[in-house]
Amino acid sequence: MATESENRRFDIDVEAPADFDELAARAGAAMRRPAPEHGVEDAVRRGQRRRVVTALAAGGVTIVLVVVGVAVLRDSSDTAPDSPVVTTPVDHDGDSTIARAALISVDQLGPGWSPEAVVTPTAWEDWRAATGAQPECADYTAATQPTEATAAGAAASYINLQNQIAGEDLTIYPSKDAASRVMDALDADGFEPCFLATWDTANAIGFPGSKPTTTSFNLAAPLPHGDRQIDFGMETITGNDSRTRLYHAIWIQVGRSIIRIIVSPDGLGSDSPAGQTEKSIAAAIDLLNAALPAR
């Protein structure tokens, strides 16, 4: 039985070295560091930049951010001429078939989910306009927009349950190296704020009046999957109804494919095998692996 004798010390019913507390105090002190001289200025500067970006992006609209979110970084037009992605001859038709066959469906997520018919021409136009409104993000969008020249096959599906979403974009690149280069671009520091800003701008265009403002939100990372994985949480507040929605955006490279999942986290946590996030990821990877051998 432990009894707290003071704030940081414990007396326990076991024989322990008398100097345990002294060692613990030294160990704790050895880990602590004073605040860096310019740390505050750096945090304020970075925080201001994030807030300004999101404030600029806030324009209008409601929720169902899913609709435009489907198109995120998947715009197939406005090809960047100097995209860093390696292009090699590929079987476009075959990869497109694989991509379509490998998308998660309502069957993988249990009862209640239904398909979301969201990939509309308008949604694509909205996303195109949103990316154009973020010139500072051109490097990221150029690197991550699959086009006929850079991607062998691409497909997307979005399904929903009330206000929750589980959306997937699957892009198959000509080579693993090409997919890795895209992941490099996604892994750069500037990508996340660009993604959040574009997300808001696109939804503001698509849903006038909703006034979405999205900031990064700390969510536990999903369990490791695939060859490489990038994720961040997003908190979207819609100005018209003051509602807050959380999304987890996850990119997983599996060989020459990149799966992007945008999912509403549930109460089980992002790293729980029984949770919505893990179920979506696992289903997407299982379906991709099942589809690939058919090639």
Binding site: M1, A2, E4, N7, R8, F10, I12, V14, A16, P17, F20, L23, A24, R26, A27, G28, A30, M31, R32, R33, P34, A35, P36, G39, V40, D42, A43, V44, R46, G47, Q48, R50, R51, V52, A55, L56, T215, S216, N218, L219, A220, A221, L223, P224, D227, R228, Q229, D231, D271
Partner: protein, 174 residues
């Protein structure tokens, strides 16, 4: 850029200047404990400093809300612990596929051998006791604060500390 957008930015900038005064004191007060917890959990001061700085950026972005909390430091510790968990998972993934880049060693003296052994034993503990000990020893957080940060009953935290102490003591004896 429209007039409304410009006005919004100017208004926001004014707010930030005002807010930053409180934030600075908070930053300097909480930083040592936060970096201690992150270093204890990750075993890497560079990663720890990056994680704490990212936590502080998030605190600043949400400062209007965070500053009104009963324990803004607890909010930061919760964000930081989640960040440490994410980093450790990513590190495991990276190790499978990428050679970790070696970082330059610090020129300042490192912790003593018994301190290194202490934290090595802490990092070998199961996840929850590891977090509890890092928050308790490096973060100097009380049992009640740790319980709130981790969302666990206070009794569980106390039990974790007591058991961890036994394990570490036995480990130090070799």
């Amino acid at each position: 850029m429209g007039t409304d957008a410009i006005a919004r930015i100017e208004l926001m900038s004014t707010d930030l200047i005002t807010l930053s005064w409180d934030f600075e004191g908070f930053y300097r007060l909480e930083y040592p404990g936060l970096v201690g917890v992150a270093a204890a959990l990750t075993g890497d001061f560079h990663d720890a400093e990056d994680l704490v700085q990212e936590t502080m950026v998030k605190a600043f972005v949400h400062w209007r809300r965070v500053s009104r909390l009963e324990r803004p430091g607890g909010w930061c510790h919760r964000v930081l612990v989640n960040g440490c968990r994410s980093l450790l998972r990513r590190r495991r993934t990276e190790q499978r596929f990428w050679a970790r880049s070696r970082r330059e060693e610090r020129s300042t003296p490192g912790p003593s051998a018994d301190v290194l052994a202490f934290w090595s034993l802490v990092r070998d503990l199961p996840s929850r006791p590891r977090m509890v000990m890092a928050l308790h020893i490096a973060g100097e957080r009380t049992m009640a604060e740790i319980a709130a940060i981790l969302g666990e009953p206070e009794g569980t935290v106390r039990s974790d500390v007591a058991r961890a102490r036994v394990v570490i003591t036995e480990g130090l004896r070799g």
